[in-house]
Symmetry: C2
DNA sequence: ACCTGAACACCGTTCAAGT
DNA sequence: ACCTGAACACCGTTCAAGT
C-alpha cells in the first residue's frame, strides 16, 4: 500500500500482469476471467480496464517475454544455419512456446484476422519476414508468400489441446515448411 | 399450430434450423445467439435445448447440406482428375463454401481439437482421407500425413474476415497442397 | 411427450462515488 | 489522478409449471 500515486498505478499494472500470467499458465487463455484477475490482483475491475482497455492488450503483456524471445531468435538462427533450416528451427521453437504457453500465437493471429489496412503484422510477423526474405535470397523459399500466410497456417498451434499436442503439433509444421520451399 | 405431438416437434426442429441458418448467413457463426434463435423460431429456449443439446449439434445441422456437398464432391473429382489435382480442386471448393458460409469448417475442426480418442474425424475427414489415399497410391502425396493434419491446416479459412478473404484465402491453400506432395 | 419462459448463473463493461 | 465495486447488460442453461 504505497502512497505515491504514480507508483501505485505501476504496481497495480505489474500485479495484474503477473496474476494474469499465472492464471493463463494454469488454465489457458480461454479460461481467463477478467473480473477474477482484478479480484485476485486486489484491484477493482475499473482499474484493470484502465490499464488494459481490451482483453488483447492484456494478453500481449502476458506473452511479452515469449514474443521477444521468438523475435530475437530469428536473426541468431540465420547466423548459424541455412535459411530453410533456420526457419525449421524457428518453427520448432514456436511450437515449444505454444505448448507451454498456449496462446502465445493467439494475440499475434488477431492482428492478421482483422483490418484491411494491417500495415504491420507485429514483431512476430517481422521475424517471419526476416526468415522468409533470407530464404528467398538463397533461392530456397518460394517468391509468392508472405508472413501473413505463415501466421494463418501455424495458428492452429494455439488451438491444440494438450492431449493432441504430441500427435498433431509437428507434422503440420513440416507440411507448411515443405510447402514454403521453392519447387 | 398443428396438434399432433410428433409433427409439432419435427416442425419446431425444422424451423429452428431454418432460422439459425438464415441468422448465420446474415451475421456469422460467432453472432449466433441461441436464445434469439429460439425466440425468432417461436419456441421456448428449452425446446431449442431439447433438440440441440450443444451449440455444435445445431451448427452441424445448419451446415449439413454444405458438408454433404463437399463429401460427395471428393470421389467425383477423383474420377476425372489426377489425385493431386482433385485435391487442389476440392480445396478450392472448400474455400468457396467457407467464404459464403463462414464456419462450415468450424464444426468440423471442433472434432479434431477435442478428445484423444477421436476414432473418426467425421465425414469431412473421410473425404480428405479418400483424396490422400488416392494421392498416395499414385505416388503423388507423401506417406506421413493424415486427414487431421489437413483439417488443422485449412481451419484458418473459417476465421478469415470477409475483407481478408481475397488476399489470404488461396495462397495458404497452395502452400498446404505443395507441402502435401511427395518430394 | 413436448413445450414455455421465468429465473439463475456467469462474465464483461461502465460509472458514480470515493481517496 | 487513480481506484473501488455496485450495477447493468448480455447470453447460455435449467427446470417448474403448463398443455
Amino acid at each position: 500500500m504505497v502512497k505515491a500515486a504514480r507508483k501505485d498505478a505501476l504496481e497495480n499494472r505489474a500485479r495484474i500482469i503477473e496474476v494474469a500470467r499465472r492464471e493463463v499458465a494454469a488454465s489457458g487463455v480461454a479460461e481467463l476471467r477478467l473480473n477474477a484477475i482484478a479480484k485476485e490482483a486486489g484491484v477493482g475491475q475499473g482499474t484493470l480496464y484502465r490499464h488494459f482497455p481490451t482483453r488483447e492488450t492484456l494478453l500481449v503483456e502476458v506473452y511479452r517475454q515469449e514474443v521477444d524471445d521468438l523475435v530475437g531468435l530469428a536473426p541468431r538462427l540465420l547466423e548459424t544455419a541455412e535459411p530453410v533450416d533456420a526457419l525449421a528451427q524457428w518453427f520448432d521453437q514456436v511450437a515449444e512456446y505454444a505448448r507451454v504457453k498456449r496462446g502465445v500465437l493467439a494475440a499475434v493471429e488477431a492482428s492478421v484476422w482483422r483490418g484491411i489496412t494491417n500495415r504491420s503484422l507485429g514483431p512476430i510477423g517481422d521475424a517471419i519476414t526476416l526468415l522468409l526474405d533470407a530464404g528467398r535470397a538463397a533461392g530456397q523459399i518460394r517468391e509468392d508468400v508472405d508472413a501473413g500466410d505463415v501466421i494463418v497456417l501455424i495458428g492452429y498451434l494455439s488451438r491444440l489441446d494438450e492431449d493432441e499436442w504430441s500427435r498433431r503439433a509437428h507434422r503440420p509444421l513440416r507440411i507448411v515448411l515443405d510447402g514454403l520451399r521453392r519447387r
